[in-house]
């Protein structure tokens, strides 16, 4: 007795296998298509990047050449920078310089009969002395120092009066 298949041919296991195979092929073609499309874009982008890099390298070569043409300028600027950075160390301590300028300013504007007697500036001290026969002038001088405001602190180191030379005042600044 022969076997009879009563199921519709569409539903037979063989047909399902064929349909699945066809579906997988379709999926494969879709994936391949997407990949080829994206891949083509990717390759175009890679070429674009390479062209940009080549342009950039070319521009760098031009700039390097132009900079080389200004090499003398660069050397001089480098030398200036080297010297100024070293001079910065030398000129950093302005204390003595300022002291000298302050005292010079004070002694340049002495009242008539007050004369400079001594001036001493070194690492340890800053002091100067003035001499006058006239106590009023000396008072005027002291007042002018206060008014000038050159010194925040002045120390009276000595105040000496002798009949032959008058008043000798020694002041120390800081």
């Amino acid at each position: 007795m022969s076997e009879i298949n009563l199921l519709p041919q569409d539903l037979s296991p063989a047909r399902q296998g064929l349909r699945l195979a066809a579906f997988l092929k379709k999926v494969s073609y879709i994936i391949l298509g997407i990949f080829l499309f994206a891949g083509t874009l990717g390759v175009i982008y890679v070429v674009y990047l390479r062209v940009q890099i080549n342009f950039s390298v070319s521009r760098q070569q031009t700039l390097t050449k132009n900079i080389s043409d200004l090499e003398t300028t660069e050397q001089k600027l480098f030398l200036t920078k080297d010297r100024t950075s070293k001079l910065k160390t030398i000129l950093a301590d302005t204390k003595k310089d300022n002291s000298y300028n302050d005292i010079k300013k004070i002694l340049a504007n002495l009242p008539g009969d007050v004369i400079p007697y001594s001036l001493e500036i070194d690492s340890n001290r800053t002091q100067f002395a003035v001499l006058s026969r006239n106590s009023v002038s000396m008072a005027e001088f002291l007042n002018s120092i206060v008014v000038s405001g050159e010194y925040k602190k002045l120390t009276l180191v000595s105040f000496v009066f002798t009949p032959d030379r008058g008043y000798l005042i020694t002041l120390g600044g800081s």
């Binding site: 195979a21 990717g42 080297d82 010297r83 004369i115 001493e120």
Partner: protein, 232 residues
């Protein structure tokens, strides 16, 4: 036959998927690496452009500036030039130098490659001339720093004659032997260095004007293909 078709389709799908995965990875790796390379190139390019712009801007001023800087801090010990300047300035005020001595040379004392030597001298004259002499010494290149200034009246009663004893330091420093490579980014003067430059620009040039900037050299620098511009 159906099974073979199915296996064949699965095989194709797997092949396509693997091809797509590896292909995508290859392209993205390439793109990523090229992007990095392009970014680096553009960075170098912008640094070079900035350097070129800066150099073009300063080009006209730099010759004067470098001369001023080398006058202020020469390469060789300037003690003779300073002494000569002091002597001639003193003479212009009718002053004569006495007890002139050049003291100990201190090399590299400040840790900045600087060397210094000490000059001590004394002179007698009226107070105004002595302070003028001090001002001239302070305002002439090369840079000198007074370590001590002592002006004392020569009469106990005070009078016209004063004695000035000056104790000053003069400085020098060897020239740089290396310069940055062409591709290295350019650093201009800092504000502080610009201030120093302004300050030393106000100094009078030394009496004997000899350019201390060497013009050329064939010596090769150790870390650069550029010749040492400062080598004598």
């Amino acid at each position: 036959m159906d099974n073979r078709n199915l296996f064949y389709s699965v095989g194709i799908l797997l092949g396509v998927v693997l091809f797509a995965v590896f292909g995508t990875k290859l392209i993205t790796d390439n793109v990523s690496s090229l992007n990095d390379q392009l970014a680096q190139n553009r960075d170098s390019e912008s640094k070079l452009q900035a350097k070129l712009n800066s150099l073009s801007e300063v080009s006209s001023l730099v010759t004067t500036d470098s001369q001023v800087a080398i006058d202020a801090l020469p390469e060789k010990n300037p003690v003779l030039s300073v002494l000569s300047n002091i002597r001639s300035s003193a003479a212009s005020f009718g002053l004569t130098l006495n007890n002139v001595s050049s003291g100990e040379i201190v090399t590299g004392s400040s840790g900045a490659g600087l060397s210094s030597s000490e000059i001590i001298f004394e002179t007698d004259g009226d107070y105004k001339n002595l302070t003028s002499l001090i001002d001239i010494i302070k305002s002439t290149s090369p840079v000198t720093i007074f370590d001590s200034i002592k002006v004392t009246s020569q009469s106990s009663l005070g009078g016209d004659t004063y004695r000035f004893v000056g104790h000053l330091f003069t400085y020098w420093a060897s020239l740089p032997t290396t310069i940055p490579s062409v591709t290295q980014s350019f650093e201009g003067l800092t504000d502080e260095e610009q201030q120093i430059l302004t300050r030393i620009s106000a100094l009078k040039p030394p009496p004997v004007g000899v350019s201390l900037i060497p013009s050329s050299s064939s010596a090769q620098l150790p870390n650069s293909n550029r010749s040492d511009p400062f080598s004598l």
